[in-house]
């Protein structure tokens, strides 16, 4: 008997009880649909994180002060005061460091910012003009902070778009107006273009001021919170990390890298951490979806067992007329595979629609990988064979004399 005939016959049988067929398929639809949607969600999230981190610069290295031990009491990482403007200058000028193009010393602190009418709590970052290059800042209007303003401790500020909205409202151009930070009045000279938030700090919700102004006028500090470095190319990142690391160790009079009172990390490090997190999350969600797929498979088995019982006479007759075991098994397996295959296809449809909607709502990229679709088709057909096997086996082992036991 040719397969096309068995398939046509199976479709005929399945369409007789449409409600039952539909309900049996529903479990697989939900299972496959959620697997597709969740895999897509995971991939789109990790792509979004990647592109955000990449947009901050692939050549970017960041130095942060490490934990400092003061008389045996170890402080938290990033809290230290041991990173100085001199360190930044040394990196820029040292002959040992050949792979760094730009150095951006930064001092940041959160504080309350006010105008006459409104106030907000935001991140203030003291910077030099290289920040614009290293951190890939683009301006929406006005100008960025220049060298002269840094040298003269000018009371000027460049605002992120979120700060503008928080302080002045939507659609207002505040250039020329002032903001008050820690009792000082700063003139607004520029607005940055929106970049979207990354997981670590939201650049749109930031006020940029000259480094000298931040250190001396606003916060009275002489250390740096971080130094951003731009390597000459992504290929020399590792070299750059080593060169800068040894330079700073020498400057801080430390002879062992394990004693380092600072840490240097690249965007790649952050990317790897973020990817690991998302992939864990994705596999967790997919695991839950797989359970629903399993439940769907059991539903198929249940329906197939009912079908076998209902069709005892038909099976007996077929055997009486010469159908061999293998043919009966094939017939029932094909029925269950059609159920799960069709369920899988519909599930893929729903999954794709769902992930399209989710990506629209979260404004993350819409990603459907062909591999997840092939996997879904394979898995759903596999479930058909796996859970259809026992009912089919039972059908094939029925004695043909059952067909004659009618009355």
């Amino acid at each position: 008997m040719e397969y096309t005939e068995i398939i046509t016959e199976a479709i005929g049988t399945l369409t007789v009880n449409k409600l039952r067929t539909g309900l049996a398929t529903l479990g697989i639809v939900i299972g496959i649909g959620s697997v597709i949607a969740l895999i897509s969600l995971g991939q789109s999230t990790s792509q979004a994180i990647q592109s955000q981190i990449q947009s901050l610069g692939a050549n970017l290295l960041t130095i942060q002060p490490g934990a400092v031990s003061t008389r045996g009491v170890r402080g938290a990482a990033g809290e230290g005061t041991n990173l100085t403007l001199e360190d930044a200058k040394a990196i820029k000028t040292s002959s040992q460091v050949t792979t760094i193009q730009n150095v951006s010393p930064e001092f940041s602190r959160r504080t309350q910012v006010t105008t006459g009418k409104a106030n907000t709590n935001t991140q203030i970052i003291g910077i030099t003009p290289t920040y614009e290059i290293v951190r890939k800042i683009s301006l929406d209007s006005g100008n960025f902070i220049n060298e002269q303003q840094v040298n003269s401790m000018a009371k000027v500020a460049v605002l992120g778009p979120n700060v503008v909205t928080n302080l002045f409202g939507e659609g207002v151009n505040p250039i020329g107006q002032t903001v008050r930070i820690n009792g000082q009045s700063l003139a607004i000279i520029g607005i940055t273009a929106s970049k979207g938030g990354s997981g670590f700090f939201n650049q749109d919700d930031t006020i940029f001021v000259p480094l000298s102004t931040a250190q001396k006028q606003l916060f009275g500090a002489d250390y740096l919170s971080s130094i951003a470095l731009e390597a000459k190319s992504p290929e020399v990142m590792v070299d750059a990390q080593t060169q800068v690391g040894y330079l700073l160790l020498a400057r801080h009079k430390l002879n062992d890298p394990s004693q380092a009172d600072f840490s240097i990390f690249s965007q790649q490090d952050i990317l790897n951490t973020a990817s690991a997190t998302t992939s864990t999350f994705t596999s967790l969600l997919s695991g839950i979806a797989a359970i629903s797929l399993l439940v769907g498979g059991i539903g198929i088995m249940n329906i197939m067992l009912v079908t076998v019982t209902e069709r005892t006479r038909e099976i007996g007759l077929r055997k009486a007329l010469g159908a061999k075991k293998r043919l009966i098994i094939t017939q029932f397996l094909i029925e269950s595979v059609i159920l799960t295959f069709v369920g899988g296809i519909i599930g893929i449809g729903f999954g794709v629609i769902a992930s399209y909607i989710i990506s629209g709502l979260t404004s993350s990229p819409f990603v459907i990988s062909p591999s997840s679709i092939i996997l879904a088709i394979g898995v759903s057909s596999g479930i058909g064979i796996l859970f259809g096997w026992y009912p089919a086996q039972r059908a094939s082992n029925l004695a043909p004399i059952e067909a004659l036991r009618y009355e």
């Binding site: 008997m1 005939e5 005929g12 007789v16 006479r313 038909e314 007759l317 077929r318 055997k319 009486a320 007329l321 010469g322 159908a323 061999k324 075991k325 293998r326 043919l327 004695a399 043909p400 004399i401 067909a403 004659l404 009618y406 009355e407």
Partner: protein, 237 residues
């Protein structure tokens, strides 16, 4: 009649075990049926006639004894080999017709040919021929509910004939049919026998058994009477 046996059973036993209780359904049954015979097997319910029918139809294997169907021993074959024997050598006509539900007369008649591996074109051609033969040439696309009992049984007969079997095995073929249609069915059987087909029919109705040339009476698993009733009656007169 060429005297070559189609059916030969040698000391056939069938014993069913339910827990510790043994039921002997067939007790040392030896019969021989020759090509071209029309045999009725009669007996009250529980006499073992259905069990005998299962044995003769290769639907079940005997506990003990030998069964030779058309020269082939079938007593110890596997399920699949039995299926093959049934497909090639036996045409079944059941009391309940046993047509596939929601399936046309034509496709029902095609079914045994599907299992015999005959091409689709030939299947349809042959099915049409046999349906015309049983007078249903205009009912090819009808499904069971659209056919009367007699018509359904004629579809079943066409299905039984379509692979030219050595033996037609009918189990109470008129049991579910109105009496006028029943006599039509019996006429078909007599015509088929006239054409040389070997027919074995199980029945408990004496007037139906009358149509056969030889009647075997079975009771408690034994053959109690075996003979040509017509001839016996004629001889008796």
């Amino acid at each position: 009649m060429n005297g070559k046996p189609i059916i030969q059973t040698l000391h056939l036993f069938k014993i069913y075990k339910t827990g510790t209780v043994e039921t002997v359904a067939l007790d040392d049954v030896s019969i021989e049926i020759k090509r071209g015979e029309f045999v009725a097997i009669m007996g009250p319910s529980g006499s073992g006639k259905s069990t005998l029918m299962h044995m003769l139809g290769a639907l079940d294997t005997p506990t003990k004894g030998e069964y030779i169907l058309d020269g082939e021993s079938v007593s110890k074959l596997s399920d699949d080999d039995l299926a093959d024997i049934r497909n090639r050598k036996i045409g079944f006509v059941f009391q309940a017709f046993n047509l596939l539900p929601r399936t046309t007369a034509l496709k029902n008649v095609c079914l045994p040919m599907v299992y015999a591996g005959i091409s689709k074109e030939e299947r349809i051609e042959r099915a049409k021929k046999y349906l015309q033969m049983v007078g249903l040439g205009d009912r090819l696309e009808h499904t069971s509910p659209q056919l009367s009992g007699g018509q359904q049984q004629r579809v079943a007969i066409a299905r039984a004939l379509v692979l030219s079997p050595s033996l037609i095995l009918a189990d109470e073929p008129t049991g579910n049919i109105a009496s006028i249609q029943a006599s039509e069915i019996m006429e078909i059987f007599q015509d088929l026998n006239g054409e040389g087909h070997t027919i074995v029919m199980i029945t408990h109705e004496a007037d139906i058994a009358e149509h056969a040339k030889r009647i075997i009476h079975i009771k408690d698993g034994h053959i109690v009477k075996d003979g040509n009733d017509h001839q016996q009656r004629k001889a008796g007169k």
